[in-house]
């Protein structure tokens, strides 16, 4: 449980101020992250799930130091990313890389594959070394060295995502952040890319933080999962245990929404409403309006994210009872 922490997020908060719509009203606010904390140890992988708008990409941008959090810290290999000088941060960047959701938008259409893949190397190597590194990393994602001089439009979506993965691998990073790495791909291609990600993780002992709204994807690649709701983690723990016996009504609802051919499964519970973004302060449990188990206490007292044993955490007053329910 206490290996070397590659990434630690401490109480991350990110509020966006929206452009003013009217002179006479205060500008709108979006509370994208409301105190998110977690740690990822070397060689393990954390999946982040949640509905659209719950702050997953915001979290990824904060972790990648592409955006400054309103409050909280991001520690990579023990170093606070937002306390580093510009040059120090630039040098540290080779230790954490990102794969984006859209393989059509994340590769510059004017650059060759060789140039795209070696961009994270900066100016550290000479031309020959860069080419060798690029060829090697392309081969490790199942592409050929002869693809080096092609342009992105010559590849399919799945191949492009392989290029994006190769690019993330080229610096041999300690952490790779993947934001919905397969959701833009055809279902038939998704499995191949997921297999590749799982393979690479074993081969290079990579550490992943993988965002997805698809529980199956997380279950396949990750050891641990964190479920986000309205910019908070509401449940976290090892995938196997969380998916077998969810301890938060929201996780349970997410699992119930996945059509799975499990015989004897009880009637699916529908998740009412779709408030997936928070725009102001909330009293009590943020899930109360949609929760099937809501009680008077929930509206007054906000449940804390608390340990349940078995390396699990949940933010619900009745977590033990929820966990004990038969699935």
């Amino acid at each position: 449980m206490s290996g070397e922490a590659v990434l630690v997020a401490e109480a991350l908060v990110r509020h966006y101020t929206l452009p003013r719509e009217s002179l006479f009203r205060p500008p709108g606010k979006v509370h994208a992250l409301n105190g998110v904390s977690f740690r990822i140890e070397r060689g393990s992988s954390l999946g982040i799930v949640g509905e659209s708008g719950c702050g997953k990409s915001t979290l990824a941008r904060a972790v990648m130091a592409l955006e400054r959090p309103t409050a909280g810290r991001v520690l990579l290999l023990g170093r606070d990313l937002n306390a580093l000088g510009r040059e120090e941060l630039r040098r540290l960047r080779r230790h954490f890389q990102m794969v984006f959701q859209d393989p059509y938008g994340s590769l510059d259409p004017r650059h060759t594959v060789a140039r795209i893949v070696t961009e994270p190397l900066g100016r550290t190597l000479d031309a020959g070394e860069r080419r060798r590194a690029a060829a090697e990393v392309l081969e490790s994602v199942g592409l050929r060295a002869s693809d080096l001089d092609k342009f992105p439009h010559e590849f399919s979506g799945g191949q492009r995502q392989r290029i994006a993965i190769a690019r993330a691998l080229v610096t041999r990073p300690d952490l790779i952040v993947l934001d919905e790495p397969v959701s833009a791909l055809d279902v038939s291609v998704q499995a191949q890319v997921l297999n590749l990600l799982a393979d690479l993780q074993q081969r290079f002992r990579l550490t992943y933080m993988m965002i997805s709204h698809d529980l199956g994807v997380i279950d396949y690649v990750c050891d641990e999962v964190a479920v986000m709701y309205l910019g908070r983690i509401v449940e976290a723990g090892p995938c196997a245990r969380v998916f077998a016996a969810p301890a938060h009504p929201y996780t349970r609802a997410l699992l119930d929404a996945v059509p799975r051919p499990v015989p004897g499964r009880r009637v699916r519970q529908r998740l009412a409403g779709n408030v997936a973004t928070q725009t102001g302060e909330i009293e009590g449990c943020p899930f109360a309006d949609r929760c099937p188990r809501v009680e008077a206490r929930c509206r007054i007292e906000a449940p804390l994210l608390r340990p349940l044993g078995e390396a699990r955490l949940a933010a619900c007053h009745f977590a033990e009872a929820v966990r004990a329910e038969v699935p």
């Binding site: 941008r61 990648m64 592409l66 941060l89 630039r90 040098r91 960047r93 080779r94 890389q97 990102m98 984006f100 959701q101 859209d102 059509y104 938008g105 994340s106 590769l107 510059d108 259409p109 004017r110 650059h111 961009e119 994270p120 900066g122 342009f151 992105p152 439009h153 994006a164 690019r167």
Partner: protein, 281 residues
């Protein structure tokens, strides 16, 4: 390369691009030829032979000083091209730099650049060029500077708008995540992805610059005698508008064809480049 072959084939089938390219090529070829050869010297005054109608030896006739009109038109193309190239070059160099800076820096830099260009846009470009040459004094160099300055905001705006769209793309975020700064992102990602837009705008501004040069020369503020210029030919033909209308018609046609050709070329390029951008998205 097959990809280039397909593109050239498609380009030639695009009517306005083909016509525009042909007219622009003609303009350039005529100007180039006039450097080496003209039927007569455009500087040779031949008063006894003044105002000859079109005929063998003087295909387009002679003007009120007996100069060969065809030769004047040919050499006049030089002035149009020089003014166009240099003025658009000035506008492009400064405009693209300012627009890219505004887009990369946002905040007050963007605000400053855009308010300055609003200011410049508040006056019609030709009027501003006239004002500026009136201040700087007449002459071709000053005409170029004046037209160039008023091209800056045009390029600044186009550059800023299209650069902003590129800055919002994910590959820019990816470049930032790999440690690239704003300058390198601008040079390596933003500018290469907006060159087509800038080239199209440059072509259209070229046409405007030719028109502006003609207007300034017509008013006596641009190209000075004896250097032939289409605008001055128009001015000189004015007094004989009713006796010898072709003296005004020929330079008029030359200006119209050059401007039309460049505009068609610009429009055609815009059409041809757009779907390509969409396809490679």
């Amino acid at each position: 390369m097959t990809a280039a072959g397909v593109t050239i084939g498609r380009a030639l089938r695009h009517r306005s691009f083909a016509i525009g390219a042909a007219l622009t090529l003609l303009l350039v070829l005529v100007a180039a030829l006039s450097l080496a050869w003209t039927p007569h010297s455009p500087y040779e005054l031949d008063v006894p032979n003044r105002l000859r109608p079109p005929q063998a030896g003087n295909w387009l006739g002679t003007d009120s000083f007996g100069r060969d009109v065809l030769s004047l038109l040919m050499v006049g193309a030089q002035a149009s091209i020089i003014v166009g190239v240099v003025a658009v070059g000035i506008g492009m160099a400064f405009g693209v730099a300012l627009g890219a800076l505004a887009s990369a820096r946002r905040g007050w830099a963007e605000e400053l650049v855009m308010r300055l260009s609003d200011f410049a846009f508040a006056f019609p470009a030709i009027l501003s060029a006239i004002m500026l040459t009136a201040i700087l004094g007449p002459g071709m160099v000053n005409a170029i500077i004046a037209i160039g300055i008023f091209n800056i905001p045009v390029f600044a705006r186009v550059t800023r708008a299209s650069a902003n769209a590129i800055w919002a793309r994910e590959f820019v975020l990816a470049a930032r995540a790999s440690g690239k700064g704003a300058l390198h992102i601008t040079l390596e990602h933003v500018l290469p992805n907006i060159t087509s837009v800038i080239v199209v705008q440059g072509t259209i501004q070229f046409a405007t610059a030719i028109l502006a040069e003609a207007a300034l020369s017509y008013l006596g503020l641009g190209t000075q005698p004896p250097q032939p210029s289409w605008g001055r030919m128009l001015a000189e033909a004015q007094t004989m508008m009713f006796t010898r209308p072709e003296l005004a018609i020929f330079p008029g046609i030359a200006i119209a064809l050059a401007v039309l050709g460049l505009n068609l070329l610009g429009d055609g390029m815009r059409d041809l480049l757009d779907p390509r951008l969409r396809r490679s998205r």
